[in-house]
């Protein structure tokens, strides 16, 4: 076959490992802005409406979200352990820890769906209900996206595609999961804990 020879330097930008991690970082920035938009909406209502949350709404029980916060902590620890393990080429820890993080992500989403059905108000009740459900819904959508991301990384890990030299996808996945966890704690605090005493 006819071929063209292209020179490849050690500094060839095509092989720059920074780009995967940088891409994840930049993408997370835009995701942050999406949630900032939703939190702006929440706070806008709080400012213009006086009584926020509306007096007609009873404070939902935070039991399931508290359990979920625990699930999220363990999941974040698992993916952090996993990501450190592959940095040291420790495959025996890397794959199981990643699998644990992934399963806990699924558990989180399942508990969240139970929580949806348990609430006394719905997205159509009033603008509080809409705002409440939107924040939970778009967060759990990210959780599911993160779980899919982890599944892909898990499959690639089982095939043996990662090493300490080649693990940008693992790092990116872990970064995204930290972001989702961070958003969860803010959502949890805003929706369940930050209620005025009446």
């Amino acid at each position: 076959m006819n071929t063209t020879k292209l020179s490849v330097q050690s500094t060839d930008p095509r092989f720059n490992p920074r780009k995967g991690v940088a891409g994840a970082f930049v993408f997370i920035l835009s995701e942050t802005m999406f949630f900032l938009g939703l939190f702006f909406m929440w706070n806008f209502y709080a400012v213009v409406q006086g009584a926020w949350p509306p007096l007609s709404i009873a404070r939902p029980s935070p039991i399931l979200p508290i359990i979920n916060s625990g699930v999220m902590v363990v999941s974040v620890i698992a993916i952090a352990v996993s990501s450190r393990a592959i940095a040291h080429d420790n495959r025996r820890v890397f794959v199981p820890a990643l699998a644990v993080a992934c399963m806990l992500g699924l558990l989180f989403a399942a508990i969240q769906i139970v929580e949806f059905s348990r609430l006394s108000f719905g997205p159509g009740s009033n603008n509080f209900g809409s705002a409440f459900f939107f924040l939970l819904f778009f967060h759990v959508a990210r959780v599911l996206a993160g779980v899919i991301f982890m599944m892909i990384v898990l499959v690639r890990a089982l095939i043996g595609q990662f090493s300490s030299q080649h693990r940008a996808a693992v790092t990116a996945c872990a970064m995204y999961w930290y972001f989702i966890a961070g958003v969860w704690y803010i959502v949890f605090y805003t929706l369940y804990l930050a209620w005025p005493t009446r």
Binding site: T3, T4, S7, V26, S30, M33, G37, F40, Y45, Q49
Partner: protein, 546 residues
């Protein structure tokens, strides 16, 4: 030195190639072609709008259709022409070449965001086009590009067209966000050896700031659009009883930065063309870069100046008036630097430079009227009048279209390997500049005379007839200039081939063949200054004893 071998020719059909390519140059060209088609489409709508307004009491189109037309004109020009042309088209094609890379950081995401954009565009325009074809007024949006609530809620816009339009807009937002991720990472991680921060070319700098702005602002619009879509279809109550300023805040938090998203790449093109055609280095390179970054930052602090009459607290109004005026400072820095670049240069009066003149002479007017209407009392008077239409066309036609045309004449030799006809280009420039001012200058007067935006017709005897007629004549003059450009593009079929560096450029895109091979550079260039090609030409001349 290590090397890799790649196949010279891939044997596949042109159609398969278009559908499967991940080459940033092909994707860039496809963006340009698609965006240009939407430019023609949205421009045709503008011509109909101008015909309708040419004289009082015209009944060319009925008011309902008229509302759809200016809605589609605005959204088409913004979301389907200017942003994809500058960011998707020029950005895709030029950023990797300018930084000495072989492709963008994520070529497949790049292809994905292009096709997502095409799909979004088909959805957005398709509803309108289908509605026109089937005489069905329910398939298009007619709530203007701002889609203010409550006008855009189910109560006042019950038609499916509004949902189609919202869906298209959400998709195009996702497409441009993904594209922006690509640009930021490309410019961060893919630069050729030696290309330090201050050696990044001006257009690439502009694209970096633009991409960051897209990243930070678009998701907020997406959130607002999702809320509106849910209100219309899933029974949520975000906008039903609450304050309409919620939508306005979230909409303008995107849409004011969007102005800079559309103008900064144009400014980058100007900063590329000017030094080459002035035969001088760009005056104050660092000042231009810093002013670009400042515009990017300040662009996020001015959005509420669109809402001075919506009931905003006076102290907040004053803050936004102040920021609106401050943003003129970095813009002014750029304009002075561009003029200083030309000062005592040996100007090469070819079409790209003429288009730069077009940019400077019109954009500056738009910038100044922007400061004027940023003042609260004047804004209260001029809000929603034709003055505003005049102002933002001076900014966006002057700032974007002249720069895009300059970019075409400057870079088409590189992109297609053929030279555009310079004489035709000059004729086009004359028509475009005169047509532009004929169209949009009288709108200032109309605004001061009190003519509101978005009215389908007007009664005689208010002093609006003559300026409107002049504007209509001007619109067709612009159309003529676009026609001349299309003819000029057709002459490319028989045009002479372009050399690798027809203009004696400064930046790395001129360091490769015209058009570049798929891999851009056989050997990744090593950069030693902010004008690598100038250095090489003149370094060689010095060595040869000249």
């Amino acid at each position: 030195m290590a090397s890799i071998s790649i196949p010279v020719q891939k044997r596949q059909s042109a159609l398969l190639d278009i559908l499967t390519t991940v080459d940033h140059k092909k994707i860039g060209l496809m963006y340009m072609v698609a965006a240009f088609v939407f430019f023609l489409f949205s421009g045709t709508l503008a011509l109909v709008i101008r015909l309708q307004l040419a004289a009082p009491d015209m009944k060319l189109v009925d008011p309902g259709l008229y509302n759809q037309m200016f809605t589609m004109h605005g959204t088409g020009m913004i979301f389907l022409f200017t942003i994809p042309m500058l960011v998707g088209g020029f950005g895709n094609y030029m950023v990797p070449l300018q930084i000495g890379a072989r492709d963008v950081a994520f070529p497949r995401i790049n292809a994905f965001s292009f096709w997502l954009f095409v799909f979004a565009a088909i959805v957005m325009e398709g509803g309108f086009a289908l509605g026109m074809a089937m005489q069905n007024p329910n398939l298009a949006s007619n709530a203007a590009w701002t889609a203010y609530v409550p006008l855009s809620t189910r109560v006042f816009s019950p038609q499916a067209g509004m949902d189609i339009w919202l869906f298209g807009l959400i998709l195009s937002g996702i497409a441009s966000t993904l594209g922006a991720v690509n640009f930021v990472v490309t410019a961060y991680a893919m630069r050729a050896p030696g290309m330090t921060t201050w050696r990044i070319p001006m257009f690439t700098w502009a694209m970096i700031v633009t991409a960051v702005m897209v990243l930070l602002s678009t998701p907020v619009l997406t959130a607002a659009l999702a809320m509106l879509t849910a209100d219309r279809n899933f029974g949520t109550q975000f906008f039903k009883s609450s304050d309409p300023r919620l939508w306005q805040n979230m909409f303008w938090f995107y849409s004011h930065p969007a102005v800079y998203i559309m103008v900064l790449p144009g400014m980058g093109i100007i900063s590329e063309i000017l030094p080459v055609f002035s035969r001088k280095p760009l005056y104050g390179t660092k000042a231009i870069v810093i002013s670009t970054i400042l515009i990017g930052l300040l662009g996020f602090t001015t959005w509420a100046h669109h809402m001075f009459v919506s009931g905003v607290a006076p102290e907040i109004q004053r803050f936004f008036m102040f920021t609106t005026m401050v943003i003129a400072v970095p813009t002014g820095v750029k304009i002075f630097n561009w003029i200083a670049t030309m000062w005592k240069g040996s100007l090469v009066l070819k079409t790209p430079l003429l288009m730069v003149f077009g940019f400077l002479s019109t954009f500056t007017v738009g910038g100044i009227t922007g400061v004027i209407q940023g003042m609260i009392p004047i804004d209260t008077q001029l809000h929603n009048t034709y003055w505003v239409v005049a102002h933002f066309h001076y900014v966006l036609f002057g700032g974007s279209v002249f720069a895009i045309m300059g970019g075409f004449y400057y870079w088409i030799p590189k992109m297609l390997g053929k030279m555009l006809n310079d004489t035709l280009g000059k004729v086009q420039f004359v028509f475009m500049w005169i047509g532009f001012n004929l169209t949009f200058f009288p709108m200032h007067i109309l605004g001061l005379e009190g003519m509101p935006r978005r009215i389908a017709t007007y009664a005689a005897g208010r002093g609006w007839e003559i300026p409107n007629l002049i504007a209509t004549v001007g619109a067709f003059t612009i159309a003529t200039s676009v026609l001349i450009f299309i003819i000029n593009c057709l002459t490319l079929l028989r045009a002479k081939p372009a050399p690798a560096d027809p203009w004696e450029g400064n930046t790395l895109e001129w360091d490769t063949t015209s058009p570049p091979e798929e891999y851009n550079f056989k050997k990744i260039p090593v950069v030693t200054s902010d004008r690598p090609l100038w250095d090489r030409r003149h370094g060689a001349a010095v060595q040869a004893g000249h």
